[in-house]
């Protein structure tokens, strides 16, 4: 593995910052940005297995995915990395150079609470009350009147909350409780004989009737596809919003995570399909679009006692779209040997996610560097924007 591969992109970013005008190749007004938040902490090593790392197979154990080229194996990206076999659509994007993969990336948050980790991811700072995406809208050079940002869902995620006008949209009939939430409710009732009994009866009945979407494994995924399609239609409208936030849950895979198949594979397949739906709904506007897929933190490298993984630190992030200079994996790979792991358990973070955010905001939306430092990500000077993320 070549630890230096990463510096190519970083160096170019530094140059772009020094000469901001050069990087502004496209008209910021036409650019679309979609941020997909995967809540629950995506296992980055499952989505993007480091198949070239000599310690990968041993460290992942039952969760390891077979090498590219074998039946059910991972989908090759380069000599070191591959995509989970469920991510066929994304693999196609990669081959068309429309997908950039970041690995061993994390926000500066180093605890392991979902709530706080998601706050950090969305606020771009500790204890902020509004989101970095909203702050970027507020500082767009040619802020147009009307709502520039939309969240697909019934509530406004923190990422889009703030002074700039934004809106939300959700289908009138939101899906029922998802499979992951139902699993957790089962745990919640473990010590309550009456509720536990009734709950298992209800699940059994739903399974027989096949009526309730909440029980099927593909259920949460369907909801995401629906929202992704809607996001595409909103952004494709000439006078519509330019920035959208999509949320997806069910990534907190503490138990029975699965490898090439199983729970997480189903989730990933749903994500993959949703992103394909988004692209087709965007139509020709896809060429002006960048989609950022991020999660609050990663998961433990080793499998836990319930065939899952626990809260970790670094994960992967994806950037795809017609506007993206894709076909590369950007990573300063920390390695998977026992001594390489963060606190002896997690993938060590070597890239500040804010560098990706800042690079996209600058090159794609045209947010001025000074604004990025002062307003959007205060105190982030050390995290220089990554350059060369967008095709010119």
């Amino acid at each position: 593995m070549d630890r230096r591969r990463f510096l190519v992109a970083a160096g170019a970013g530094g140059f772009a910052l020094a000469c901001p005008g050069l990087a502004l190749a496209r008209t910021a007004g036409d650019s679309r940005l979609v941020v997909v938040i995967l809540r629950g902490a995506l296992d980055g090593l499952a989505a993007v297995p480091a198949v070239g790392d000599p310690n990968y197979r041993r460290q992942r154990g039952a969760l390891a995915i077979d090498a590219p080229g074998t039946a059910g194996g991972a989908l090759a990206l380069d000599a070191d990395f591959a995509l989970h076999p469920a991510l066929t659509g994304l693999h196609g994007r990669y081959q068309q150079q429309e997908l950039l993969v970041f690995h061993a990336a994390a926000t500066p948050y180093r605890e392991r609470s979902h709530f706080d980790g998601q706050d950090w991811l969305e606020a771009g700072a500790a204890h902020a009350r509004d989101g970095w995406l909203n702050r970027s809208l507020a500082s767009l050079p040619n802020a147009v009147s009307g709502e520039r940002g939309i969240a697909l869902g019934s509530t406004m995620p923190l990422a889009l909350r703030g002074a700039a006008p934004v809106t939300t949209w959700a289908p009138s009939r939101m899906p029922d409780a998802d499979a992951d939430t139902l699993n957790r409710i089962g745990l919640l009732y473990a010590e309550d004989p009456l509720l536990a009994q009734r709950f298992s009866e209800a699940l059994a009945a739903a399974e027989i009737a096949g009526t309730m979407g909440g029980v099927g494994p593909a259920f949460g995924a369907r909801a995401f596809e629906q929202l992704a399609r809607a996001a595409g239609r909103f952004l494709a409208a000439p006078e519509g919003p330019r920035v959208a936030v999509l949320e997806s849950g069910g990534w907190d895979t503490h138990a029975n995570q699965g490898a090439a198949n199983g729970q997480l594979a189903n989730r990933l397949q749903g994500l993959d399909r949703g992103l394909q739906e988004l692209a087709s709904a965007l139509g020709s506007v896809w060429a002006d679009t960048a989609v950022l897929v991020v999660t609050e933190f990663g998961r433990t490298v080793a499998v836990n006692g319930t065939n899952g993984t626990d809260h970790g630190t670094a994960s992967c992030a994806l950037l795809l779209g017609g506007a993206v200079a894709g076909g590369r994996v950007v990573a300063d790979w920390p390695g998977l040997a026992a001594g390489d792991l963060y606190q002896g358990r997690d993938l060590r973070p070597t890239m500040d996610l804010r560098r990706v955010f800042k690079g996209v905001l600058h090159d794609h939306l045209g947010v001025a560097p000074a604004r990025l430092e002062d307003r959007v990500f205060p105190g982030s000077r050390a995290a220089a924007p990554l350059g060369n993320l967008l095709s010119s």
Binding site: G40, H114, L158, D176, L182, Y189, L195, M212, G249
Partner: protein
Amino acid sequence: MAARTDNAIAVNRFGLGARPGEIMAPGHDPRGWLLAQVDRPQPLPAAVQALPPSAQVLAEFQAVRQQMRQARRDAKDVDPVQQVRNTLAPAYRAQVMARYAAAAKTDAPFHERCVHFWTNHFAVSADKPPVTALAGGLENEAIRPHVTGNFADMLLAVEQHPAMLMYLDNQASIGPNSTAAKRAARFRRTQRKLDINENLGREILELHTLGVGGGYTQQDVISLAKTLTGWSVGGGQGPLREGVPGEFQFRAKIHEPGAQTVLDKRYPQQGLKQGQAVLRELAVQPATARFLATKLVRHFVADEPPAAAVDRVAAAYLHSGGELQASYAALIDSPEAWAEPLAKLKTPHDYLVSAVRALDVQPRGDRQVVGSLMLMGQPAYRPGSPAGWPDTAADWDGADGLMKRIEWAGAVGRRVGGSVDPVQRGDAVLGPVFSDDSRMWISRAESRTQGLTLLLASPEFLRR
């Protein structure tokens, strides 16, 4: 200061479920906090004040019916079902919204729960037109003014309210020896024999006062029904239409003349006073005291009412001559009421109200409230029978009902989710009864939204 378990019981079981911080409101005196809410009449909630009176609603309905008759005579094409629905449905929705808006915000939640308790005791069902548009009126006009007063006054107000009279068909109950019946027989105005309708009389004995097994006979039912002949509603059409439209109207012409005997007591009074005298006597019967005490204890203490608490409440009721305040005080003073937190499974109504209060949101849009209650199986003001909604866990703990609540919790979580910390909110509304186990699972939720759903679906939140 940490809230004590007694505070959680006061706010969540006797009250309507804590709003954030309310669990501290009872301070060191949860019993005093409850008593203070029922020691005098409470002002009518603002949302309820804004509603038109039942008489006006009913008069409008009568006018629409009149127009429909005219239209039919003129051979115009009108859909009667649609017409009725168009008149009644908006009034029903407004009343439901007012009820739940008041419940969401009240600072006297024990008082409000007592209102809901008596409305269910004196149940009418909105699925029978025109009761659809009157059920809220029964609660606001007949129950509320007497909820801290004497049971006999509430009983009289309820049995004279158009909602109850029309729900149990008493306006069609005619004394066989009344002036009107005799004249009809003489002139052969009708094929049908004019006679009493026992419905209201029976339900008063069986459901409102003595209770099943309260020692009354079929003859008592008939006699009581005869004393109530002529208890009717003003307006309408036909020969019996005198009186203010929509208001209670005593029609002497159809009242059965003569003395009646109920529970071995003879009532020689004439006219309206006769039925009123019977009702006042029924209100202070030991069987009534026991029946009401049992229902109160079942609602506020446990599904299996502890005998000692029932005895205490019944005694207080009897000794005070049916004073409700004294009865509530005996209930609150019962140690059994404070022995077991979370003794009751919430009904869907309890559940919705407590969730709205816990989230500190004003219910928006009648569809949300009306639809949610329907989905969870307890449509507002629509118990479907004069017996009202049942009041034990076994009636509400069905698997499907549980899943409906979970789905609803999921939808509400998504609607309010991200901005509420579910663990903090659990502490704020459940206080000491929030279990370490639930706390842990909720803190491990993958998002705040999911955490809030788990809080609303938690065993502690499903109970009171």
